[in-house]
Symmetry: C2
Subunit: 376 residues, 2 copies
């Protein structure tokens, strides 16, 4: 993997760059649509390419490991082939879902024992097998196995957990460095900073993670319920420590405003279920603010879904029609809103990149932030 | 509306023709995908055009009347504009759903009082307002308000019901002929033959319906649970009575085999929820037979969804991937299977038409029928 830093904003710490992987180039800052179980929900792969213009998507190790399971993915020749997606893929390590979805999880130094949320069967994730599983999935960028602490989290637990995450990181690196990719193309490994919302812990974690000198670095344990100001302050703090010449990935973030604010702090990569999950509930993100398409006010509004939008659905369908589909729980409603929201997120980071390169990012960002949170 | 009969098969009663409507030409025999509530479930309109190659779709008056309701559809300028579909649309009269979906329906000579399956509110459909509602929806082809008898149905009830359907037909025609289209383009009205599975009733009904001399004729009350042989025998009987120079629409039929057999009996138009509904349950219709994608046998089958298929999904995705999506209840699974099945149905009628024109229909049909029902 190669990261090239192309421009740094004068008025902020925003950066424009590019990440080159075995499956192509990602222009940063970038938003990565979440393809949980090998599909970005309600969107065809060709729509991700042609309409959303996604450059990289995420897969969730926990979900893919449980279903379809590694034997199927391996026999397909990896996740790219299984789902017919030849652009870059990033997988998380499975840790986050183990904590949030599975029942009866037991976290020990060795790893985490958990029960499948699908059938209750017992499984075990460790730093070592989280790497092995991600080798089998075959993502271009694979993530460290960490513990993601909840919010709020008491200092003692946060410190203890962070220290274990650091010890796990060493084991992840050892495993990654002593194994080969399974499908003939290079994979890259990113470690993850933890430390909850404690400045000293975040600082310590960022230093440890930076010292591993991997090809990119990630920030975990944020966007778990803490106030946005806490998220920004932790992000700012660790970005000052992380090396400039490597991409920075803020995991699980966030709203359009969160993304712009964190680009301004020096983040290069984002992922979040918000544009896809909220789409299925009728929430549309637009450049003028947020639409809840379920509201009565759209019932007879025959204007385009988003006249300023750049997805085909934005002009093709009307708000009244989308509201009808949502009220009738029609699948097409989820399809339209998902394409809209994902294209909007991708447009947002494309615009951010353009403004960083043109040297106008800070002003543009401040103007956008005022509008993006407005309820329409 | 103009119907042109272009070819009649030598070895059967199959016909190839074309129906010209205000929204374009339909080449018959044709299958019409069902777009219940203003959407063919899980398919974008542009996919219906580019991938499925649908020439006409169906709307359900009962569903559209309840939601979004006529004021919304009228303000949109009719259903075509509301859903952004500028090819032909046919609407049923609402009767079938009143009988199958709504609670506490009361059928009287005047019409049918029923409760909405959505919110329990009380509504009334009559021959007159079924026409008015279809004028408001603005379909190119609108259907008579009839009573669709269940199967089995005792002779006495079937006869009484059929006679009421005939009286209702007169009221429908009077209303249709004394009202104007609402959106400036022509609408056409089709009456419906009833009579359950009784030959004398079907014969009588076909004669009455033919005597109304409308621009097309429909056969209702079949595909409601009777054996296929009964369906074919009733269809054959009425096709002998219906005028040759007008299109014949067999409502709610059916499997690929049903469709080919009924084309051979002289039917020109079909609709059925089977390709769309069964797709969402993992059943795929192919030229070699039927696939239940949920089956274990497809788990590691990385061959194309349908190597003989003509939809993009057939080559783009594998059986193993589609099985995974179906097992994971992913929306994309419904999207893929629906496009596949609809394209297959459209391919089937396109091939039938080609063979009718080439004079090879009967042999081709007999060969296909042997394969289509095979469980793969």
């Amino acid at each position: 993997m190669k990261f090239e830093l192309k421009h740094t904003d004068k008025g902020s710490k925003a950066r424009a760059g590019s990440v080159t992987t075995a499956h192509g180039v990602i222009e940063t800052p970038i938003f990565m649509p979440v393809g949980t179980a090998g599909t970005v929900k309600a969107v065809h792969q060709r729509e991700l390419i042609n309409d959303v213009k996604a450059q990289i998507i995420l897969g969730n190790t926990y979900h893919l490991y449980l279903r379809p399971g590694l034997p199927v993915i391996e026999k397909a020749g990896g996740l790219h082939k299984f789902i017919n997606w030849d652009r870059p893929i990033l997988t998380d390590s499975g840790g986050y879902q183990v904590y949030s979805l599975s029942a009866n999880r037991k976290i020990k130094e060795e790893g985490v024992k958990f029960k499948s949320h699908i059938d209750g069967s017992t499984h075990f994730f460790s730093p070592e097998n989280a790497i092995d599983i991600q080798r089998s999935i075959g993502a271009d960028i694979i993530m460290a196995f960490d513990e993601c602490t909840p919010y709020p989290c008491d200092y003692k637990y946060a410190k203890k957990s962070m220290e274990m995450t650091h010890r796990w990181l060493k084991r992840c690196c050892d495993r990654f460095d002593s194994t080969e990719p399974k499908y003939g193309y290079e994979q890259t490994f990113f470690p993850i900073i933890q430390g909850s919302t404690y400045k000293d812990l975040r600082k310590a974690s960022a230093e440890v993670i930076a010292s591993f000198n991997r090809e990119g670095n990630a920030i975990g344990g944020l966007s778990v319920g803490e106030p946005a100001e806490e998220m920004y302050s932790m992000t700012e703090l660790v970005c000052e420590i992380l090396p400039v010449e490597k991409p920075r990935y803020l995991m699980g973030v966030g709203t359009p405003v969160n993304i712009l604010e964190c680009i301004a702090l020096g983040i290069d990569m984002f992922d979040c279920v918000m544009p896809t999950r909220n789409a299925r509930n009728g929430m549309l993100f637009t450049s003028e603010g947020i639409i809840n398409i379920r509201n009565e006010k759209w019932k007879e509004d025959f204007s385009a879904v988003d006249p300023n939008g750049s997805a085909f659905v934005d002009e093709y369908y009307t708000k009244a029609y989308l509201r009808h589909l949502n009220h009738s729980q029609e699948i097409l409603g989820a399809q339209i809103a998902t394409i809209h929201n994902l294209r909007f997120y991708l447009w947002l980071v494309e615009e951010a990149r353009k403004h960083i390169i043109e040297g106008t990012f800070a002003d543009w960002k401040n103007g956008m932030v005022k509008k993006l949170g407005t309820k329409l």
